[in-house]
Every structure is written in C-alpha cells, then in structure tokens.
Amino acid sequence: MIERTPLLNLATYTVMILGAFMVFVPLWLVFVGSTLTVREINIPELHVWPGSHFFENVQAAWARGHLGGRLFNSLIMALGVATGKVVMSALTAFGLVYFRFPGRMLVFWMIFITLMLPLEVRIVPTYAVAANALWPFQSILDVTGLTDLIQRFSGIQVALEWNLLNSYTGLILPLIATATGTFLYRQFYLTVPDELLEAARMDGAGPFRFLVEFLMPLSRANMAALFTIMFLYAWNQYLWPLLATPDRAGFGTTAVVELKLLAPTVSTNGGGTPDWNVAMAGCLIVMLPPLLLVAFMQRYFVRGLIATEK
C-alpha cells in the first residue's frame, strides 16, 4: 500500500525507536555492570560506559557458577519440556477434538484446571512425588487394600519406587503437567475444516495417519510457537530446579538456579560480599541462549500464534 504520510511515518519511527531504547537500556546496563570491578560496581553512581573487565568477569562467572555443565542441564531440560509439551499437547488435543467418548468433557476440564495453580504453591507435595513418582499409585493400592491382598496371596509386599530427583526426567515431567499447549492445539484443530478429515477418510487414513500426515504439517507454525514458549518457560524455571536437584556435586542444577546463587542477598548468605559484576556477567551468559532461540524462531513464532493464540 503506497501512501504519503511523512508525519505519520515520523511518528511511527519515533515510537519504534523509543520502544527499542526502552528495551535496550536495561540490557545495556547489565552489560556495563559485567565490565566493572567489584569496587567500581559498589560505588554508588550510575555507570553508563563499560569498563575493561568483561572477560575476567565472564570467566569468573563461568567458573564459579560451573556454567558449562549448568547450561547443558538447562538446555536438556528446556528441550525436554518443549518437545514433551508439543508431543503431549498434540496427542491430547487430538484425542479431545477428534473423538467422542464418555467423560471427554470431564477430562477436558480436568486438564483445564491445571492452568490455575502455579507450581510454586504446591511445591512441597510435588517434591514428594518427584522423590517417588509411584507414590500416588502405591497409596491407591494401600488404601484400596490391594497391597494387603497381594501380600496375602503372593507373600510379596508391594513397594513401588521411582525416584526422579537429580534427573532430567524429574526436572521435566512436573513442568509438562499443565494445560498450556493442549489449548493451543485444541484451538488449532478446531479451525481445521471438517472437509480435511473427510478427505483423509476417503484416502483411507486412520486416526494416527491423519494426525501425522495431515494435521502435523499444517500445524508446523503452531508447533514452533509452542516450542519456543515452552522452551523459555522451562529455561526460566527457578524454584523447581532449586528443589529437585539437591545433588549439586554430581548432577548439578540449572543455569538460572546457579545465577541466583551468584547474586546472594546480604540477609540470607550469612555475610558474604555480593559481587554484582560477576552476577551481571552470569546474567548475560544465561540470557543468551533464549535470545538466540527467539531470534531464530521468531518468524514461525509470530505466525504460529495468528488466529489461534495460546
């Protein structure tokens, strides 16, 4: 569309430049912070221009935070959550939209309700489940008397155990157990014309083939969007990895948890001196992978959300 609107264009650019400025300022200050010495950063004045200690601080943060291993853990966890979520959501939404079975609406609401209670508020019992993921089932056996029954007949006491602490499985599974992606997919499937299924049927496709060969290719953009959202969500997790990875020497933890340890607060660390310059350098390192992913995925990302959202 070609129109001459010089004033409006000027205003538009002004808005965009101001917006970009607001995005940049905090990021810039983090960068500047990461280039100073401990003493410089603790002097109460605003540093606008970078110092000369960037690489030393990055090195210090990398070494002290064991960031090599931690970033790897974060990456595995984020990839696991993102992939798991995409697969799980695609399957579940497919089951909910394309099938009729009793209790379908109940399942739908059951999954929907998981949107309402963030992990933070149910974290202790969740930890107990992660320590033994079969605890719920053991309890069911105990309460229904099945444990006793089995013991009476076979002489074997049922003691189910599956410890997920200090494992990628344990980091990932509880984060997948929410509804977010299911709804994105449900909305998407609902917008797919019914004719597609009829055409697929004509082709002799069963449910599985229909999902893989017809729906999946269509939902590529959704997939990219959901993948990106879930990757960021998982990468940003703080409280759950902090609890779920007590074995710091062996398994380690995630980069974000380590980041918080790099920036101790005076009231909680028993008097160690916080060196913010190293913390800021750590910030930069930890920020980088999601930024790269978003830059890379952005095209699909925006398109995937068109008309369907979340």
């Binding site: 209670l117 508020v121 719920p136």
Partner: protein, 294 residues
C-alpha cells in the same frame, strides 16, 4: 464448539489422552490434593501428627488484614501491568504493522524482553532503580524522598510493575502483531480506497477487528500476573517494604516455605485457585468466542 466429523473408535481416543491424564494426575492432582488436605489440618513441617481443624485455617486467613492487603495489591498489580504491557504492546504492534522500512529489525528487538530470564531482568531493574546508584541517583541526592523503594511501598510497587511490564509488553506485542497481521489486507485496502486515512483505519477497522484478542490478552495477562510475578518479587523486593509488594503467590510461598506454616499457605492456595477459576472461566468464554469469530 464441537467437531462434526470425528473418529468413532473410543479406545483409540482414550489412548491419545492417556499419557497427559496420567501426568496431570501424578504431578498436579495428587500434590494439589495433598496441599488441600493440609488446608484442613495443622501440618507439621517435619512430619508427624496433624490434626483435623475443619475450616479454621480459612477463617484465620480471611480474618487477616495482611491477606486482604495482599489480594488488593495483587489486583492493583494485575490492573497496572495489564494496562502498561498491553498499552505498549499494542502501540508497538500497530507501529510495526505499518510495515515501514526496517520494521523487521524493530520487531526482533521488541520480542527480546520476553526471552530475558525473569531473575536476570529483576536483578537488572534492581540496579537501575537503586536510589543511590541507579538512574535516579542525581535526583535522590537533592531530595532523598524523591525515590526510595526500600522504604516507600508505592515506589517498590511501581518498580516491580515496571519490571514485569517491560517483560510482558513483549509478550503482548507478539500476540497483537499476530492479530493485526491476520486481518486480511483487502479489508484495509478497501477502506483506504474509500479515502480513510491511516489513523482512521487503525481506530475504525484494525482495533475493532482485534477486540477479541484484546479481551483474551486482558484475561491472560491478569491470570499470568498472579502466577509469574513470583520470581520478580523474590529477586527485587522480597515482598517489602513492610509487605507493600507482597502479592498472593509470594505470600503463599513465604508463609509456607519460609515461615513453615504449611496449612495456612495451603488454605491460601485454595482461595487463589478459586479466584483463578473464576478468571479462567471468563478467559475460556473469550477463547470460545474468538473461535466463532474466525
């Protein structure tokens, strides 16, 4: 909204949803159930006896002025962050949607804050807003009362609102831009041929057409603000000064896992869940309407 054409094999359908159901049962319902049980008992943190006390914990929660304060602050936080982040998100989306030269670069930049790790963003903003070191340092030197989030609750609240909105505006931007770009170009071109100017088109055509997205974002951002504020509050203010930034989720976390009052925290969780249910119900209605629309 229902599909007319479906598969008929029930057993296969159940198979598709079974993994999710198992997962949700194990990692959501079971722990939530345990927390609910705590809400009606007095749970000892290190285990041991717990006594059934009925609704005592709820009574205590509702009798607590601090709890009502925290509900009020959460609502203020939700309203303020929704206004700011949606306002900026929409403004930038409209600007980008004009498709002026080089807008792709701006689009990339505007999405960034969404990708910035919340604790990192919070640390950065703590620096920026530190009265003696940050951007206000010069003004604070002349008048110490000008800016002091460590003592002034309003300042602290403003600080977490700005930090959260900075991140969340990027999220709103993505959705609004997607919605704007989904409007068929033909509609806009037709109105341009009718002689409608750019601003006129924005207000008369584009904005009305994305109203469903707008409402959807409103509800989403309110529910998100309840849930996602935790990391920012934890890093920036610890709920202070004097509870001024103690939002619902932070309070639950503090009472439960810092203060070791598991039962009181569990009761608060259930109240929060009810609030979220009401909000999500509205959200759901809008999603459904949105589907009809397209």
């Amino acid at each position: 909204m229902e599909k007319r054409a479906t598969f008929s094999k029930t057993s296969i359908g159940v198979m598709f949803i079974l993994p999710q159901v198992l997962l949700v049962f194990t990692f959501f319902y079971w722990p939530t159930g345990a927390a609910m049980y705590w809400a009606f008992t007095l749970e000892r943190p290190w285990g041991g006896g717990n006594e059934w006390v009925g609704f005592d914990n709820f009574r205590q929660v509702f009798a607590d002025r601090a709890y009502w304060g925290s509900i009020f602050r959460s609502l203020v936080f939700a309203a303020a962050t929704a206004t700011l982040s949606m306002g900026f998100g929409l403004l930038l989306a409209v600007a980008c949607d004009r498709g002026l030269k080089g807008y792709q670069a701006f689009r990339t930049v505007f999405v960034w804050p969404y990708a910035v790790v919340a604790p990192a963003a919070a640390l950065a903003f703590r620096f920026i807003f530190a009265p003696e070191a940050g951007i206000f340092a010069a003004l604070v030197k002349q008048n110490p009362a000008f800016w002091n989030p460590a003592q002034n609750g309003y300042h602290a609240m403003a600080m977490i609102i700005i930090c959260y909105s900075w991140k969340y505006a990027a999220y709103c931007f993505i959705f609004f831009l997607a919605a704007l770009q989904a409007i068929p170009r033909s509609v806009i071109e037709a109105s341009a041929l009718d002689g409608a100017g750019m601003l006129r088109r924005v207000f008369d055509i584009q904005l009305p057409l994305i109203t469903p997205t707008f409402f959807f974002m409103l509800v989403i951002s309110i529910t998100d603000s309840f849930q996602d504020s935790f990391g920012i509050v934890d890093v920036m203010t610890d709920g202070g000064p004097a509870k001024a930034t103690e939002l619902l989720v932070y309070k639950i976390y503090f009472d439960g896992f810092r203060g070791l009052d598991y039962s009181g925290a569990a009761a608060q969780s259930i109240v929060l869940m009810l609030i979220m249910m009401v909000l999500t119900f509205f959200q759901f209605r809008y999603i459904e309407r949105r589907v009809h629309y397209s």
